[in-house]
Symmetry: C2
């Protein structure tokens, strides 16, 4: 069974360099520094989501939401990366290998990337959002509103490596 999707738009922003590449072999400290810098930049980066004009009407009402979910496609991900089974999260070799489905790595069998971002503005068929880490030119597959804080009455639990990564990343702020 194959499922075929057609993009409904694309991302325009200033992010042109891939940061998370599983095969990269640079210095761990340097990598962490890069990731911190990257994260800080993307948090503030404004992206324009250019939706195809024939879908303009489908955006009506989205202005009233503070946050939206963007589903996009990593068009620069090499095909062979979809075959990976395990990775060191964020390329950090001191963290044990994790199955791809236990990570948010873009390298996965169906690389549907999902990001919750702040909606700043809508004008006709374009949305301006803040905090999207998609590369410039990424095809957009879907846009959804964030309708409910699903976690508000539930406690989330993560493995230790997630805490470690979050702590390391926040350290740079």
């Amino acid at each position: 069974m194959n499922i075929t999707l057609t993009p409904v738009g694309h991302v325009e922003n200033t992010i042109t360099e891939k940061t998370f590449t599983p095969h990269r072999n640079d210095d761990p400290e340097e990598r962490l520094k890069q990731i911190r810098k990257y994260r800080k930049e993307t948090r503030n980066t404004l992206s324009t989501l250019v939706i195809l004009p024939r879908y303009t009407e489908l955006l009506d009402g989205i202005e009233e939401f503070s946050h939206i979910v963007v589903v996009y496609w990593p068009h620069q991900l090499p095909l062979e990366d979809r075959q990976l089974k395990k990775v060191h999260p964020m390329g950090r070799e001191e963290i044990p290998l994790q199955g791809i489905f236990a990570t948010r790595s873009p390298a996965r069998p169906n690389p549907l990337l999902i990001s919750t971002v702040r909606l700043r503005n809508r004008k006709d068929n374009t949305l301006q959002v803040q905090g999207l880490e998609a590369l410039h030119g990424s095809p957009i597959l879907d846009i959804k509103p964030v309708t409910r804080d699903v976690d508000k009455d539930e406690t989330l639990q993560f493995p230790q490596w997630i805490h470690d990564i979050n702590q390391d990343l926040d350290h740079g702020d």
Copy 2:
């Protein structure tokens, strides 16, 4: 540009009836009652996510997360529903028509359905989850861990109709 996906597994549960059908013309009160009942049921429903054996290893490490994101495909959605431009949210005609991208309606150009659910158990290539409202047999496209409470330091804002719907739904609990 076409993007082709192949399911990585499927959902097994007791949910066999579609609830949100945009063309249905039943009594609003009756519909609300049904939706409440449905929502209560799905909150407690246990589903088994059967992942293809060749992807078993990709699940390693997922046991340590309390919540996962399931991306699945509404295999029973009629093709013509992907052409809809606006809907009354949850079929409630007293709520003004909203553009599809401003709703979580399954009827959308690329119906990639995304649900955050509680992970109860993993055994080899199967995950038991609670709260998934996918129909029995739905193809699974991706599994991701919930790695961070993205909303914890941000205030979400919704249009009034979302508050109304949430209130109506919670009223039945």
